[in-house]
């Protein structure tokens, strides 16, 4: 017999995990292992908290980004694990955008991925990242400005 708790978390897993995993892949510059670990760890921690978590879907996004940001901060360089073959134009676009996102700071990258990929509002992103709405606005503004520039223009920044 399934408990309400497991049913609730299974539903959250089915609804959120694929999109969360892909958002983490973009945020981590293509690190599949880190995306998988952060997704699994966020759900495991959430399930352990059980009914104390009111909204599992929202909770796992916040937890997963905390976990991934912490792990990225400990690393010297990202570890891209996206397939190097570029036979698919859509995959080429994804690889290009992952490469471009490496030029912005982790906070800016998180804001861009959460807004432009996951579709969260500035208010929701502030909640996920544990910051203010104005800070999220600044992150998005600076990231967009930098992404509009050519890579060789970044030297002065």
């Amino acid at each position: 017999v399934r408990t309400d708790r497991s049913t609730r978390w299974d539903a959250a897993y089915r609804a959120e995990a694929p999109r969360l995993w892909r958002a983490l892949l973009l945020f981590t510059s293509g690190d599949r292992d880190l995306a998988s670990d952060a997704t699994a760890e966020a759900f495991a921690q959430g399930i352990a908290r059980g009914d104390a978590v009111r909204s599992p879907g929202a909770w796992v996004w916040k937890a997963a980004f905390v976990i991934a940001r912490g792990e990225l901060a400990r690393r010297r360089a990202p570890d891209p694990q996206v397939a190097p073959t570029r036979s698919d134009p859509a995959l080429e676009d994804v690889l290009d955008v992952i490469a471009a996102l490496r030029r912005v700071s982790p906070k800016q990258r998180a804001a861009v991925v959460l807004h432009h990929y996951a579709g969260y509002s500035v208010r929701e992103i502030a909640e996920i990242l544990g910051t203010s709405r104005s800070a999220v606005g600044v992150h998005l503004f600076r990231a967009r400005a930098r992404l509009r520039r050519e890579p060789e223009e970044d030297d002065d920044d």
Binding site: R22, T39, F43, A44, V82, V97, H116, Y117
Partner: protein, 34 residues
């Protein structure tokens, strides 16, 4: 930035989540252990 969002969302079509079953198994194991 519409172009940025369009490019980002292409990840849905071209990259399947890794260790999908493993994550599910791990999550269910945690749930069972509670």
């Amino acid at each position: 930035m519409t172009d940025l969002g369009t490019k980002l969302r292409k990840v849905d079509r071209v990259i399947a989540p890794d260790l999908w079953n493993d994550i599910g198994t791990r999550t269910r194991n945690v749930a069972r252990s509670l």
